[in-house]
C-alpha cells in the first residue's frame, strides 16, 4: 500500500513536470489529483482482496458502518462533492484573484475538500469547498479588463468642465488607461460642500491596481496645479442685523450702576 502511494506520488510528480508546458496549472492539477486518488482507491480495494478480506462480506458491516459514517461525515462528503463540482464548473482557477466569504486573495490550490487562498497580506486561508460552492464568489480577474472607479469633489466656484477635461487628458496620457471602453468623467452630484465628479477608466486586468493607485493621486495633483481645489466640508452662515463695530447691543450691556451698588453693599456689609 505504501509502495503504491510512493509510486503514485512519483508518477504524479512526473505528470506535473510533463504537463507543465502543455496544459494550464488548474487543469493539470485536476488530472493529477484524479490520477493519484483513483490509483490509491483502486489499489486499496485490490489489496484488501489479496489480503483475503472479502469485500462482499464487508457489505453488510459496511452498510451499517456507512450509515454511521454518513451521519458523522456529512460535512466531509458535502465538501468532497462541492470540490468535484468546483472542478467541473470552474468558477475559479488556480492563480485567480477572488473574494469568497469576506476573504480576498489569490487561489493557490483547489483541493478535494477545501480551497486554499493566499490573502493579499500573505496569509493562507483554507475555506471548505462547501462554503466556497454555496458562497457568492467574486472572481476579480475573470474578464480581460476592469474599471477603475473613484470620485473627486471640487469647489462650487471651480469649472467642472475644465476639471473633467483635465482628468480625461490625464487618462489619455496613461498607456494602460484603455481607449475602448472610453474613459468617462461626469458630475454625479451637487453635494453640500462640493461638486462630486465620478471617474470611470478601464484598464487591463493585470494593470488595474497599479494604474488606480497612480491615477487617483495624479488627478488630485493635476486639478490643484490648475487652480481647482478639493474643498473641506463647509457651512455658509448668514448673519442678519449685524451691529456696528464695537457696539454691544443694549440688552447685553451689564448694568454698571447695579454692579457698583452691589459691590458697595458688599463692602458696607463687611465694614459693618
Amino acid at each position: 500500500m505504501s509502495l503504491t502511494i510512493l509510486i503514485s506520488k512519483i508518477i504524479a510528480l512526473y505528470l506535473r513536470k510533463s504537463l507543465k508546458d502543455k496544459v494550464s496549472k488548474d487543469v493539470g492539477e485536476t488530472i493529477i489529483k484524479f490520477f493519484y486518488y483513483g490509483t490509491v482507491i483502486i489499489v486499496s480495494i485490490s489489496a484488501l482482496e489479496r489480503m483475503g478480506i472479502q469485500l462482499s462480506g464487508l457489505l453488510l458491516a459496511g452498510g451499517i458502518t456507512g450509515i454511521i459514517l454518513g451521519f458523522a461525515s456529512q460535512n466531509i462528503v458535502g465538501n468532497l462533492i462541492s470540490g468535484i463540482f468546483l472542478m467541473i464548473e470552474k468558477p475559479i482557477k488556480i492563480g485567480d484573484q477572488v473574494e469568497i466569504s469576506e476573504t480576498s486573495g489569490y487561489v493557490t490550490d483547489i483541493l478535494i475538500i477545501s480551497t486554499l487562498i493566499r490573502t493579499y497580506d500573505g496569509l493562507l486561508v483554507r475555506i471548505p469547498n462547501q462554503q466556497v460552492f454555496t458562497s457568492n464568489i467574486t472572481n476579480l480577474v475573470s474578464f480581460p479588463v476592469r474599471r477603475i472607479d473613484f470620485t473627486i469633489g471640487i469647489r462650487y466656484s471651480d469649472d467642472a468642465d475644465r476639471a473633467i477635461a483635465l482628468i480625461k487628458d490625464l487618462a489619455d496620457k496613461e498607456p494602460f488607461a484603455l481607449l475602448n471602453p472610453e474613459p468617462f468623467v461626469y458630475v454625479r452630484e451637487l453635494k453640500e460642500s462640493s461638486v462630486e465628479l465620478v471617474v470611470w477608466i478601464w484598464a487591463p486586468i493585470d494593470e488595474w491596481f497599479e494604474l488606480k493607485t497612480k491615477l487617483v493621486w495624479a488627478a488630485k495633483k493635476i486639478l490643484e496645479e490648475n487652480g481647482i481645489e478639493i474643498p473641506f466640508p463647509q457651512h455658509v452662515v448668514y448673519l442678519h442685523n449685524i451691529p456696528e463695530k464695537n457696539q454691544i447691543p443694549a440688552e447685553l450691556k451689564p448694568d454698571k450702576e447695579k454692579e457698583i451698588e452691589s459691590v458697595l453693599n458688599y463692602e458696607e456689609r463687611v465694614l459693618t
Binding site: S24, F143, P204
Partner: protein, 246 residues
C-alpha cells in the same frame, strides 16, 4: 540608426543616445531617451550590437501579442474585390547583443518614440486587449519618421458580395515579419469572410531582396505566447481571426 555596431560605439539621433563603452573590464551600455535612461553591464568580449526595429508590443510592458490599427476614417469596400492600401504602424527600437555572425542574439533594451496606448477589441466579457495605433489610409506609401513609424502595405480582400465598412484591423505579433533599411515596412493582408468576421495575417516571403528582415516572433519565442494568451496552446496562430467586428 539601424544597423550593426562593433564595441565600443556611440550613436545619437533625435532624442535617443546610445553608448557602449569599456570601464575597467566591463562594457557599460547606456541609453537615454528624454528623461528615460537604461544602463546595463556586459561581461564578455567579441560581441557586437544590433539596433533594429521590432514589433510595437514590448513597451511599456508586454501584456498582449495583438496590435489594433484604427483607421482615421472608415473605409468602404465593395463586394468581391481586392484592393491595396497603405497604413502606418508604431515602431519600437530593439537593441540586441550578439556574437560574431549574429549568433546567440539577446535583447538588451527596447524603447520607443511612438505613442503608447492600449485598447480593448470586443466587449468587456470576451474582448481582447490590444496595443492601439491610429493610422490614416494612404493610396501610396507615406514617408513617416522611420524611428517612430513604419509603413504597412495592406491587401484587402472582400470575399463577400456586399459592401463592407472597415474601421480597424487587428494583427497578431506572432506572424509579423518586418523589413527595414532606412525605412521600415510590413506587408499584411485582411480577408473579409462575412459582415462581421475577417482574418488578418502577414506575408512571410521576402518582399524585397534589398531589405533586411526581422521575423519578430519566431517559433521559439512563440512558446512565450502561451503565457500571454493565458491559456495553453500547442501553437499560436500566425493569423488573427477578427470575429468581433471590424
Amino acid at each position: 540608426m539601424y544597423g550593426d555596431y562593433d564595441l565600443p560605439f556611440s550613436v545619437e539621433k533625435e532624442e535617443i543616445s546610445i553608448t557602449v563603452e569599456k570601464i575597467e573590464k566591463l562594457w557599460v551600455y547606456r541609453r537615454t531617451l528624454g528623461e528615460d535612461t537604461e544602463e546595463k553591464l556586459i561581461l564578455g568580449e567579441g560581441k557586437h550590437i544590433i539596433i533594429n526595429p521590432v514589433e510595437p508590443l514590448n513597451t511599456p510592458k508586454e501584456i498582449t501579442p495583438n496590435l489594433l490599427i484604427e483607421f482615421e476614417k472608415a473605409l468602404l469596400l465593395p463586394g468581391g474585390i481586392k484592393r491595396e492600401i497603405f497604413l502606418t504602424f508604431p515602431i519600437e527600437i530593439g537593441v540586441f547583443i550578439a556574437d560574431k555572425g549574429n549568433k546567440n542574439l539577446q535583447l538588451l533594451d527596447v524603447f520607443t518614440l511612438a505613442r503608447q496606448k492600449f485598447t480593448l477589441y470586443g466587449p468587456v466579457s470576451n474582448g481582447i486587449v490590444c496595443k492601439h495605433w491610429k493610422s490614416g489610409i494612404y493610396s501610396v506609401p507615406p514617408s513617416p519618421n522611420p524611428l517612430q513609424e513604419g509603413v504597412m502595405e495592406l491587401v484587402l480582400r472582400n470575399t463577400t458580395s456586399d459592401w463592407i465598412s472597415i474601421s480597424k484591423a487587428v494583427f497578431s505579433a506572432y506572424g509579423m515579419r518586418l523589413y527595414y533599411d532606412t525605412d521600415v515596412f510590413m506587408k499584411a493582408h485582411m480577408d473579409i469572410r462575412s459582415k462581421n468576421t475577417a482574418e488578418t495575417g502577414f506575408e512571410q516571403r521576402n518582399i524585397s531582396g534589398e531589405l533586411k528582415s526581422y521575423n519578430l516572433k519566431d517559433q521559439n519565442t512563440r512558446k512565450e505566447a502561451i503565457g500571454v494568451y493565458n491559456r495553453k496552446l500547442d501553437f499560436v496562430p500566425l493569423n488573427f481571426n477578427m470575429g468581433l467586428g471590424f
